[in-house]
Symmetry: C3
Subunit: 248 residues, 3 copies
């Protein structure tokens, strides 16, 4: 079985290692994979976007733990969800907004026998999410975590915008190729980009262009350079889709 | 079996991966978990603090490798220790100061049959600590590493101070809740903080306050902000505990 | 079986985690080890240097995936190579230059049954290198990936220069101890260094000197300080070897 971790904890502190210690104490044979621990602190929307672009590359029945949790210690619910053949364990603050499909079954985690004790009020990643995920990976049925709920927090899918900037400075938008009609173009950071290329290699070095990225979204890239730096845009920046002329 | 790693190697260099290669060559089925590789270079006290706040969340018999080793190549001893049901492998420079209990059994590692050869003078993490830990995880008795010693290096536990700043800017002190009598307050970075809250969520956004953190120490936090930046304090900064007035 | 990963992806993006998900979907019991994900973006030579200094510490038959791939989507070939008892999977751009020995067998990866589908044009790490490596780790013979080739890209081994700066500011050169004859010295960053010490500990704190590093190369170090900062040299900087006087 596989458990993945997506948090805003960073890697300098021992928090991630501690969660893994708790997991392996319950599920010694599980494979633990880090998706990322460098989501911007408290950024629920970017977490939701990263998770939705990553989880489907794992085998079915993978348990995904998400801990970006500005409300830890408040009455926000911890939840577990079965959706699209995967399992998710997270605070109910919208981080699962883009992975819960229509048939998703969501449960309010209340079964304290699955928790680590004593339960802290500041580190539910260690005391609730890690042990519950480990038990689920070991075969505990998801129905045993608590009552089913029908109102998990959902963030609205944002309008055309920059989802993330990646390490290479590629600008990952939430536009799909079908959002661009022939002749239309993307206006971002003061420039218009109309040509959709197939690969990085097709672009000339130093050329700014749009490609269909590896998760199916349109990315604005500068071949072997940083598009984000060049255009001075950041995560969340708005994008305008300009329609083509009537003559087309 | 589990082996954890705590070093100041960072993640850009191949040093950590190389240690894992050596471990898996000896103990192919071990689970390796990173606690952190981003302890400030050569900082023995912070390493000791991080390790003591993390190791107990791993199952008993976990082998913890610690390599923060400014004296590598000098006559400082490599040691292995059994304490509190866990095993530690480290240079004898004080990094184990806060994990060795009264009943700890400490051994001077001298058995070269457990080393990697040729033995370098600059990377004992690869040539001594990793292979010795792997052999211990495989069942080699700790008594076979070398002679028992009774004088491992111990750093004195520091007075009231900042142990670490975490990724969120939370100021982790070495004060316990019982160090704060009713009416007393904590003086740090020019401000006095008297109120101990239970959770992050209880504090107003932007409010500076003290909470009992997830490892039982008092932390100074700024809800959804960086307390360390606001107070301009760093790891090691002194803290004053001001006693309450006689009238209480 | 072990699969290692060496990329320039960084750890903030989900790219590395996604590759691990693909690997574990094919080879559920493999041990995955990160060598580094922080090679400078697109830097083929530094990648080749890091890989050559790390791979030999893993057990034979380890499969090493290397994805530093500025030409992804171009006609550059994906290759798999058996060399020195290890297996390498990488783009054919020179990243394997320093690990392919005389007896290396190199294959052009063309067998699409080993790929992930649909095949993207921008993320061959996920769609070609990860699944092919997982199949090789599972026992698929390397001859089944495609036709053998005899002309893999090879970068010339650079002249005396700085290979890398590590996290401690140590300057890792590509000089071997035998490159320094008695009386000769190393000229770098405006200073001459003639004395070769055995260990960090032998140098006085603050002393700049040369040692034989853990992978057999000469390193310029400043004991408990950053030699790279002091000398203001970076990766790739040239080094001069000054021969000793005729009188020796």
């Amino acid at each position: 079985m596989i458990i993945t971790l997506t948090t805003d904890f960073g890697l300098a502190d021992p928090y991630v290692g501690v969660m893994k210690g708790v997991i392996l104490g319950i599920a010694p044979d599980v494979q633990i994979v880090d998706i990322t621990h460098q989501v911007p602190s408290y950024d629920v929307i970017e977490t939701a976007a990263v998770l939705s672009s990553a989880y489907q590359y794992f085998p079915p029945e993978t348990v995904h733990i998400v801990v970006v949790d500005p409300g830890v210690g408040s009455p926000r619910r911890p939840i577990a969800a079965a959706s699209d053949g995967h399992v998710f364990v997270a605070p109910d603050n919208g981080v699962l907004s883009f992975v819960l499909d229509k048939a998703a079954a969501v449960y309010h985690i209340t079964n304290e026998r699955l928790f680590r004790h004593p339960l802290s009020s500041t580190f539910h990643g260690r005391d609730i999410f890690a042990p519950v995920a480990a038990h689920l990976a070991q075969g505990t049925p998801i129905t045993s975590v608590g009552a089913r709920i029908t109102d998990p927090a959902r963030k609205p899918y944002p309008g055309p915008c920059v989802l993330r900037i990646d390490k290479f400075g590629n600008i990952i938008t939430n536009l799909r190729p079908e959002d661009l009609r022939p002749g239309s173009s993307i206006r971002i950071g003061g420039v218009s980009i109309s040509r959709l290329r197939q690969t990085f290699a097709e672009a000339d070095p130093g050329e700014l262009c749009a490609i269909v990225g590896s998760t199916g979204f349109i990315e604005i890239i500068l071949n072997q350079g940083s598009a984000a730096e060049t255009l001075k845009v950041a995560s969340g920046a708005e994008i305008e889709v300009e329609s083509g002329s009537a003559k087309q």
